[in-house]
């Protein structure tokens, strides 16, 4: 039971929620750069708990399904093609064995997640199936999808697909995807992390070194329309705009950094540390993206999107975290209901 990769696309990797708890050995948690979209994609095919999806950056691969599979594509919106028709986005789609799915360029957002009922069944490494490209481990042997690679599915992927789609059909009549052998549903899951404005507004709290920056730089940081540089990747988003400067040069002993840390190297252009960042860093930290917005900034497309930062208090960050968590929890609960789980 596999999905064959016919064409690789820009960068597609197997991801789950990563490997927390090992940062003291300089092993970064990594995992899906937009963890929210990954979780919703899994819920769209009835997966419970954290199983691996295919994370697709900017331009997707072309895939051939070796068996029936229940799939969903969530997060970034892509051009897709299924035997001449578009694959319905953000909803469960039952694909028949032999189907070819072409995922083209991202129209909105940067990272999409292709979930399959049962998950991508690569062996866990250090307790996670996520691909860590810099370390060369996890996922498909530590590397991105390439033409000719095979994504392993669980043994009963086809049975799961049939059973779960039957459960969906008990809630509401399914629909055929015109011109294809695929079936889907009439509803879709809303996007939770895609940019709603241009520039995208990203909330931050002050970083531990915010006060070391000069007044003008601190004001500029939240005023500037920062472009997301084309060299941005899973490790960090390189922003371009005005240069930020410290009051005086400072030597900072390397310290642990976070996903969402905004650091400013000597050149003055900020870098937002993302999922595959290093665990420690020695550049001044002007700000930290709040937990509620880490998955959102991940969807700012390198080379295309712009962001503006809004400084908030820790209390506001906590309130935003709760609102975001509740929004996702409600969505996941509704999706579980669609698969026949009545809940408690």
């Amino acid at each position: 039971m596999t999905i064959r990769v016919l064409r690789a696309g820009a960068l597609a990797t197997v991801q789950d929620l990563g490997r927390p708890g090992m940062q003291h050995l300089a092993i970064v948690p990594g995992g899906a750069i937009d963890a929210t979209a990954h979780r919703v994609a899994n819920a769209l095919v009835g997966n419970v708990g954290d199983v691996a999806t295919v994370e697709i950056a900017l331009a997707g691969p072309e895939l051939e399904f070796g068996c029936d599979a229940l799939v969903a594509l969530h997060g970034a919106r892509f051009e897709t093609e299924l035997a001449g028709s578009a694959m319905p986005a953000a909803r469960p789609v039952l694909l028949r064995a032999g189907t070819r799915l072409r995922i083209g360029a991202a129209k909105e957002g940067a990272f999409g997640y292709l979930a399959v009922a049962g998950g991508i069944d690569v062996p866990p490494v250090l307790e996670s199936r996520s691909t860590y490209l810099s370390g060369g481990f996890g996922g498909l042997g530590g590397v991105a999808l390439a033409a000719g690679s095979a994504l392993p599915l669980v043994r009963d992927a086809a049975e799961l697909a049939g059973a779960r789609f039957a459960a969906l059909a008990r809630r509401a009549n399914p629909v055929d995807v015109a011109g294809t052998s695929a079936s889907s549903v009439r509803w879709s899951a809303p996007a939770a992390t895609l940019p709603q404005t241009d520039p995208m507004v990203i909330r931050v709290v002050d970083g531990v070194h915010a006060e070391l920056f000069d007044q003008e730089s601190r004001a500029l940081f939240v005023r500037e329309r920062w472009r997301v540089g084309a060299a941005s990747n899973r490790m960090g988003y390189r922003l371009t705009g005005s240069s930020l400067a410290l009051d005086a040069p400072r030597d900072i002993a390397s310290q642990p950094v976070c996903c969402g840390t905004v650091q400013v190297p000597a050149g003055g252009q900020p870098i937002v540390l993302m999922a595959d960042r290093q665990t420690t860093g020695g550049y001044p930290r002007i700000a930290e993206v709040i937990a509620a917005d880490v998955a959102r900034i991940a969807q700012a497309a390198p080379g295309r999107s712009a962001v503006r930062f809004e400084r908030v208090t820790l209390d506001a960050a906590d309130a935003a975290r709760e609102a975001a968590a509740r929004h996702v929890d409600e969505l996941l609960e509704r999706l579980r209901w669609e698969f026949g789980d009545e809940g408690d």
């Binding site: 708890g21 090992m22 050995l25 531990v208 976070c258 709760e322």
Partner: protein
């Protein structure tokens, strides 16, 4: 310590204990002990406890505002409590001692000549001094299993290379800014490579994956290229 230790938020999902601003060996030992103490009995919701050179950061998860506030407070209290009992616990000489065999010859030591020239010491004296002192892992960072090692002989304090090497081989033992590093993977790197160890510093499929951890006592032991080949085969 002149610096007054304090706990500050490192974003909304981590709290950081600052014990100093620049490298201070006593503060570094304390940071490691505080981190180990919290890792041994972490407050609820703690994901990662990471020691920097003179800092300790505790990453936590939370689902609600009330939980975030409570966990932030509990983490801060735990950091301060661990700091307060800081002088007790494992003393430096009770730490794990690990010998690192290093071949300081030929192609394994591409920058040894440059280090000798920069320090005014003969190459064999650079090697003698690197193997004569006791070293200690100050911090793990940069890449999985990558140690920043303190204890370098003061005469070997050279800056990073002006132009980083495009490829530093796995196992390379390199010095810069008063410290030694060992590269677990082949990567670009700016430190001066003076030797190579046949030991595998990191293997994701091994348990434990990382050969070293913060606080380990390190002794570098010179080996010949024949011994390197022998150890590498094992």
């Amino acid at each position: 310590m002149a610096f007054a230790p304090r706990v500050v938020p490192a974003g909304d999902s981590a709290q950081m204990l600052e014990l100093g601003e620049s490298l201070d060996l006593e503060a570094n030992r304390l940071a490691q002990r505080v981190a180990e103490r919290i890792r041994a009995a972490p407050p609820e919701g703690v994901i990662d406890v990471v020691a920097g050179i003179v800092t300790v950061t505790v990453h936590f998860a939370a689902a609600s505002a009330a939980q975030a506030r409570a966990r932030r407070e509990a983490v801060s209290q735990a950091l301060l409590a661990a700091l307060a009992s800081g002088t007790t616990g494992a003393s430096p000489d009770e730490r794990r001692a690990i010998d690192i065999p290093v071949c300081y010859e030929g192609a394994y030591a591409p920058d040894l000549g440059a280090v000798a020239a920069a320090t005014g010491l003969p190459a064999d004296e650079v090697v003698r001094r690197h193997t004569a002192t006791g070293h200690r892992v100050l911090m793990m960072g940069f890449a999985p299993g990558f140690p920043y090692i303190g204890g370098l002989d003061a005469a070997l304090d050279v800056p990073r290379k002006e132009t980083p090497r495009a490829r530093v081989e796995a196992g390379s033992v390199a010095i810069a800014n008063g410290q030694t590093a060992i590269y677990p993977f082949a990567t670009p790197g700016g430190w001066n490579v003076i030797g190579r160890t046949p030991l595998v510093l990191f293997d994701a499929t091994r348990d434990p994956a990382s050969l070293l951890q913060a606080g380990d006592r390190i002794a570098f032991v010179a080996i010949s290229s024949a011994e390197f080949g022998e150890l590498e085969r094992r």
